[in-house]
């Protein structure tokens, strides 16, 4: 795809505005507002001037070829990149109008508010119950055993896992199937009552049935959460998301309603990517 001069990335200033006019979700409050975000690994700029407004209670998918910056951008939304040495952020990310890179921000509280689910499920080597209860315990979010049990049950139900594990809450989480482990990680993220769920390729290591369950879950969870999902699987983005952002070489090329992106994208580059001409 790339030529000597490189394809021209058109001005993006009008894209979000167009999207805003067309969407039925346009009247929802903005939950995450990234403004002119640049991100550097050492001297390398991995994200270039990203501005995007993500609205409440919808699913937004980030798509793009490997190395386009979609996971990096996702990780800037709860400052998960902070733990990587030599990284630097410029610009702002507002969540509920508060700049998460501003002074005095409690990063632990931020990550509780914006929970994350990773590509590879990573349950702790503990029981099912203790995995979900973990965040509640370390944050002192349950005052007694019955409240704790109630929250664990509620989270497992939200993650569509309760019926499968209710009789073996004391079994090791590591004995569960891959799909169950991933839903357990979602339950663990939900237990501390976040309002944003950041999912980084949550189904890429799962078989089609387990993938379908995760997709169903995403569909159900958006009623209560703002969800951002990174996926290299375009069909998955098409199926589960309301909005899609296409990244390429660290830039946000197009951000619009998912049906628009997959039926009539505004940018030639997006068209070439979704039709499989590159990437």
């Amino acid at each position: 795809m790339s030529t000597a001069a490189g394809p021209t990335v058109p001005s993006l200033s009008g894209v979000a505005a167009r999207a805003g006019q067309q969407t039925p979700a346009a009247d929802r409050p903005v939950k995450i507002d990234a403004q002119h975000l640049n991100f550097y690994y050492g001297d390398t700029r991995a994200l270039e001037d990203i501005s995007v407004r993500i609205r409440r209670n919808i699913v937004t998918a980030f798509i793009g070829p490997s190395g386009c910056g979609k996971s990096t951008f996702l990780r800037t939304l709860n400052r998960m990149n902070d733990i990587i040495p030599g990284t630097r952020v410029e610009g702002k990310v507002l969540i509920d109008d508060t700049d998460i890179y501003g002074p005095g921000v409690d990063v632990v509280a931020l990550r509780r508010q914006a929970g994350m689910v990773f590509q590879k499920s990573n349950p702790f080597p503990k029981s099912v119950f203790d995995n979900v209860a973990y965040g509640l315990r370390i944050n002192g979010m349950a005052s007694n055993r019955s409240e704790l049990a109630g929250r664990v049950e509620e989270s497992l139900k939200q993650a569509a896992l309760w019926d499968e594990v209710k009789d073996r809450l004391d079994d090791s989480a590591l004995a569960m199937s891959g799909g169950q482990q991933q839903r357990l990680c979602i339950a663990r993220a939900l237990a501390v009552r976040p309002d944003i769920l950041l999912m980084d390729e949550p189904a890429s290591a799962l078989d089609p049935i387990a993938t379908q369950r995760i997709e169903e879950l995403v569909y159900d969870l958006k009623k209560a959460y703002t969800i951002v999902i990174v996926t290299h699987n375009m069909q998955q983005a098409a199926r589960v998301s309301d909005y899609t952002a296409f990244f390429w070489l660290g830039r946000l090329v197009e951000y619009d309603r998912t049906d628009k992106i997959f039926t009539n994208p505004s940018e030639k580059l997006t068209e070439d990517y979704v039709t499989g001409r590159f990437g």
Binding site: E216, A238, R239, F262
Partner: protein, 226 residues
């Protein structure tokens, strides 16, 4: 995968509901047009001539839904056939709405003349066409190929009545040239009803393809079962 993705199923159900709504509107328009003709009631005829908008809006909406479903879900097998069938049924139903308008236009002219004869075959054709339409859509909803086949069989009756109407009116026209104009309108109406039957037939063929992946178009008619 045995169980379809639930929200895809919800979208398919919504699509089907819209098609049924269209079918109901189309059938109603045919019914009112024929009623206006038989009762020589200009208000009914006008209602058909001016009321095509809801059907046209649904036509666009259904196409848009199908387009989005194809793009976002990449349906396979039965699901793919269902959506392709929906696209075609949509076109058929919209055309039925247009044909109802054509009937109303001819009826409006016809009622300005003295009746050529008592209308018997044309109301019967109207009933058959409406039943075919209704059965075709029922067969779509119920995935019922037997009912769809019944619709295909009914089409012959409609064609036969059209020929009968033509022959009979020809004798009137030969006998009395002043009947030529109104009789031609009746012939036109019978022609529109026969075409409505053709659209119901198309829908039934699409249902058979959707359910069993059998393409029964352009084949000799199946024997009518006892």
């Amino acid at each position: 995968m045995e169980q379809r993705v639930r929200h895809f199923q919800e979208e398919l159900d919504a699509l089907q509901a819209r098609l049924l709504e269209m079918g109901g509107l189309a059938e109603e328009r045919v019914r009112v047009a024929i009623q206006g003709l038989v009762q020589r009631e200009p208000a009914l005829i006008e209602r058909v001539m001016r009321g095509d908008e809801p059907l046209n809006e649904l036509h666009i909406e259904v196409d848009s839904r199908c387009f989005t479903l194809l793009a976002l879900y990449q349906p396979m097998a039965t699901d793919l056939r269902a959506i392709v069938a929906a696209v075609k049924i949509n076109t058929d139903l919209e055309r039925v709405g247009d044909l109802a308008v054509n009937i109303a236009e001819a009826a409006r002219r016809y009622v300005t003349h003295a009746p050529v004869k008592k209308l018997i075959d044309i109301p019967q054709m109207g009933d058959i066409a409406q039943t075919m339409l209704r059965d075709a859509l029922d067969s779509f909803v119920r995935r019922d190929t037997r009912l769809a086949q019944q619709v295909l069989n009914e089409d012959d009756r409609l064609d036969g009545l059209k020929t009968q109407v033509f022959r009979e009116l020809l004798t009137y026209m030969l006998h009395d040239p002043t009947t030529v104009e109104p009789a031609l309108d009746l012939i036109l109406i019978s022609r529109q009803l026969e075409r409505i039957g053709d659209h119901a037939t198309n829908i039934a063929e699409d249902v058979i393809f959707m359910v069993s992946a059998l393409d029964v178009r352009h084949h000799p008619p199946a024997p009518i079962s006892e």
